[in-house]
Symmetry: none
Subunit: 615 residues, 2 copies
């Protein structure tokens, strides 16, 4: 404690961890000082010592003695640890004040990119400034003990650190003469950095095709950078089943699949930290989601049981381990948290999507859907009731088994409109058309049906100048070959239409069975959340026209983009969100479609086109 | 390599790790030198380079080039590592020779067992039988969830497991059709085994010279096997300071020192499990102690700050981490717990000794002492008051810097009694005498003083038939050379006596200052615990006679053997003991001797002989 100043002096008050400094008159309350500094401390009672919200800790300096109000509202442990109420505590010297995030009104709610999901900032890692004397023969405490004693809060359960972190402490503390910042996760010191460094974290979505990663400031929740890369495993199989097969067939195959994703993640980490201008030592937490196969391969969990019926996950629990154990370039003691999954085909990405869309907190019935090779659908009901299915919709929407199919790369036809005589196309990046991606296929099929060129069973029926006889039956000519540069025709064949029908039939069957199993009518569904990159580019009118979804007359549709990454970000910056993810994974009821007695019939019906039009 | 000596010179050969030195003529074989030094090297072929048993390593010095026989019997790796056959290798300069224990017929005595201290069985790991249904499409829960649901107790905080354990669960459970035993540490599943397997644990004491390990049944606390080995780091320095210097000087030196101890520990683990008839998967906990340098090197903690004043530990806290992270062959999720230390020179072994001797629960004043190169002493007072010092007693008791000094291996004189005319000796394993180990030195010096041959300042005074003028002054002849096998005399010189005085003076100074600092009179001390291998073989009468200890008129003396290992066993089988170890480490007050104003005076006084006799 520094000496008290006299009543005529000005006192400097440092608010930590945000690092805001203000000069105030001797005797003002810490709450008043905070207000002058522009900090909004919670104070429901208006500063009369009754609500107990404006809790702060005095790190150094002299203040007035605790008031009767504080003795009522604070525990003995609080008092011992220097906790005070800002409204009751008067500044009597230069002060250093620690403001816990729970006492702040500002920066509590934040908007994350993608769709608007609000997470309460409640970070898993906190930073503390440390100033300690250097060792001497008269003070030969260990390095860890020295650092520990300089931390603001003390408790029975003292701060600990693992050997990798202790290695960092001993050298870094000496290099900075024991003026450093320590990052703590609960009572564990997970890293140190030069004085004033902020902790940052990384949220990751490992998709079958793409890996997306976002760097967030853990003190403010602000997104500092976001990057993406292709999943390098794609060279070993486009779909999860062929990757699992590779892992099982080839010796060390699983390990090499894991390593290539970890290497990619390290590249993304390097890119993120460079863009945000932070150091690797500041990366103190990683939060990762993905489908069950992706997270199993990433963690090198056993996949033999996951690759054949009944497709069982090795674990559905969240996995928390040291990021360095996976070779990730983070602070030495940083953890990676992989969100829990639900089943072999309902992964942590689905949990994250439910979290991001707040489907665990809905007041009405809502549907969440992520369309892909496997389409996961959740039906949310009030009081956190969640039921999920997984539909084997197949890779048609990704362009597989489609004559002129392709992914949504430059030149892919992503939107199609027919008139009586012409075809209007939109391609990715407005490049010359070279094939059809999923949304283009759905548009094409919907338009063919709308114009009566195919019937409700998907069969070519009406004569049309663009319908011709192809090698395997009738086909519709979307783009004629271009003689100038030798490009092929782009067509949609009878077989292609059948593939789309199989895919959307599976999804429709899943939705219908889900509604039935939960006793929900389509009228009750108030919201339909369409997640995922593919879902973002779909024309809802056309989805409904081809009958991929039932008629939800009162539903509001939201295309939310990469909700899995949004959920991962939430779990990164909020302990509370992480807990919710755990509850979502536990509470979600899984409905097996393949053994459902109604499945075959629903699937056959689901392949028909509805032909309905919506405003 | 030092320069070759010429053929007329005498070469000094140091045999490690037993610490025996001999002067031999240029050109004799290392085997002959060993024989002259009284070492029995294995040599089935009689020294003609045919059996390959007398393998040694040349650590430094010049020797003859490898012979054709050696090129036949040694691999390229052997040659690169300096391995030679003793019978083929001729001495050409001063040499340092490493004799692996496999080449010795007799081996060094290892103190393994400790005094039986009673610990309440309160194991950290528990076993549960599990029977679960196999997965099906109607029950596609994950493997972990299936196992978890079959565990007897359920709680909000559900049992978890890390990826390495999940890997084991998925395969082992299927191999045993979901009838298995699960090992849990709190709520963490750390391994599974076939149904009915018991959990076992290993307690380890890593000494500077020796490593001792004990396997215990964690359900009964019963010791199933105990083994020991030399600490292989000894080739890189006999004392801790030279090992720390090696770790700092050589790139990856610290890592290689760590790996050699971990490898030895794995060998001991294999030996223990084989002897006890248990599998590696049952080894579910390891508890390790050692001095601060040993535990730091083992964990690869930073040692730069530990190797120079003020000799600061990187951490004094207990370290718990996955045994697999150190490459130990245990159950996949097993932890290793390294007990806390107190200071750079007061390690976890000291904490374990206090724990084993229950010095934290004494009703009267008691002293605990472990004599070695560093001698740690604790003074225990009622209500858990503990004060410790570390005395730099030096390596004299281990045979270093003593003309005919050696460690307590076969042939070492361990007890000496003089009469007016004769000398009665006892040697380790009753082998022919070849040198003096620590207890033999203390006996010799005490007897010399008792018979008035040396005075209270340690100077030769009285004429005696066995006192003769040696190369560096007067010396006492303990053993005359034996012409039948060309063995040398064993003498104790004036210099040797001075070395013993320095060693015991440091210990006495430590004890005196400790008593003074704690306001304890020697009359109040009711118990003196002498721990460690060395202490077990000491003649208490002689220790008191030479004044290594003050006069404790009311003390009861207990020589408790390897109390560090006993303490480690306690912490292995009892959570309560582990908590006590933590409290001991926290509560023990450390007294720095080197800066103590009384130290020099006390040290000078401590070198005198008391000459007191006790019943």
């Amino acid at each position: 404690m520094s000496k008290s100043s006299d009543i005529f002096s000005t006192c400097q008050v440092d608010f930590e961890p945000i690092g805001k400094r203000i000069a105030v008159a001797f005797g003002v309350t810490v709450l008043e000082a905070a207000q002058q500094a522009g900090l909004s401390l919670a104070s429901a009672c208006g500063g009369v010592g009754r609500c107990g919200q404006c809790r702060i800790s005095i790190l150094s300096g002299s203040v007035s003695a605790p008031t009767a109000e504080e003795q009522m509202l604070l525990t003995e442990t609080d008092m011992r640890n220097g906790v005070r109420l800002a409204c009751q505590t008067r500044v009597q010297s230069h002060l250093k004040v620690q403001v816990p995030s729970s006492s702040l009104i500002t920066t509590q709610r934040l908007q994350l990119s993608g769709d608007s999901a609000a997470f309460t900032l409640d970070p898993v890692v906190r930073a503390y400034k440390v100033e300690a004397p250097s060792p001497s023969l008269h003070d030969s405490r260990s390095d860890l003990e020295r650092l520990r004693a300089a931390l603001p809060q003390k408790s029975e359960q003292e701060a600990n650190a693992d050997p990798a972190v202790i290695r960092q402490i001993s050298s870094l503390a000496r290099a900075h003469e024991w003026h450093i910042t320590a990052f703590l996760k609960n009572t564990e010191i997970i890293g140190v950095a030069s004085c004033g460094s902020r902790p940052v974290g990384v949220a990751v979505d490992v998709g079958t095709t793409k890996i997306a990663a976002s760097l967030l400031d853990l003190e403010t929740g602000e997104e500092l950078a976001v990057v993406g890369a292709l999943n390098p495993q794609i060279s070993y199989g486009e779909d999860v089943i062929s990757r699992l097969a590779y892992a099982l067939r080839v010796s060390e195959g699983g390990h090499s699949l894991a390593v290539m994703v970890r290497d990619t993640l390290n590249n993304l980490l390097a890119e993120l930290t460079e863009r945000a201008g932070v150091s690797r030592d500041q990366v103190t937490e990683v939060c990762l989601v993905g489908n069950t196969a992706m997270t199993h391969l990433f963690l090198e969990l056993p996949v033999s049981q996951l690759s054949r019926s009944p497709y069982v996950a090795a674990t559905d629990a969240a996995v928390t381990l040291k990021a360095r154990d996976l070779g990730l370039m983070t602070a030495p003691g940083a953890y990676i948290h992989v969100l829990p999954c639900i089943r072999g085909f309902i992964g942590a990405d689905h949990v994250a999507m439910i979290l991001a869309a707040q489907l665990d907190h809905t007041d009405l019935a809502a549907v969440g859907i992520d369309i892909g090779t496997n389409t996961e659908i959740v039906l949310a009901q009030p009081e956190g009731m969640l039921t999920s299915v997984s539909c084997a919709s197949g890779p048609a929407f990704e362009g597989a088994h489609i004559s002129d199919g392709m992914r949504a790369a430059a030149g892919a036809i992503e939107a199609v409109t027919l008139t009586e005589t012409s075809v209007q196309l939109k391609t990715v990046e407005n490049a010359p058309p070279i094939g059809l991606c999923g949304s283009g296929m759905i548009d094409s099929v919907a338009e063919l049906h709308r114009w009566g060129i195919i019937n409700s069973h998907g069969r070519f029926e009406r004569q049309h100048p663009r319908v011709r006889e192809g090698r395997h039956g009738p086909e519709f000519l979307l783009v004629s070959d271009d003689h100038r540069n030798g490009r092929r025709d782009v067509v949609i064949t009878q077989q292609d239409i059948n593939q789309i029908q199989l895919a959307k039939g599976a999804i429709r069957a899943g939705l219908d069975i889900l509604l039935e199993a939960t006793n929900t009518t389509s009228e009750e569904v108030s919201e339909v959340i369409i997640a995922g990159a593919f879902g973002s580019f779909l024309n809802i009118q056309n989805i409904l026209h081809i009958g991929m979804f039932p008629d939800f007359p009162h539903a509001h549709y939201r295309q939310v983009g990469n909700a899995a990454l949004t959920g991962a970000k939430g779990a990164l910056i909020s302990c509370q969100a992480r807990k919710r993810a755990w509850q979502i994974a536990r509470q979600t009821r899984y409905l097996e479609l393949t053994t459902h007695p109604q499945f075959k019939r629903r699937f056959a019906l689901g392949m028909l086109f509805s032909g309905k039009e919506y405003a």
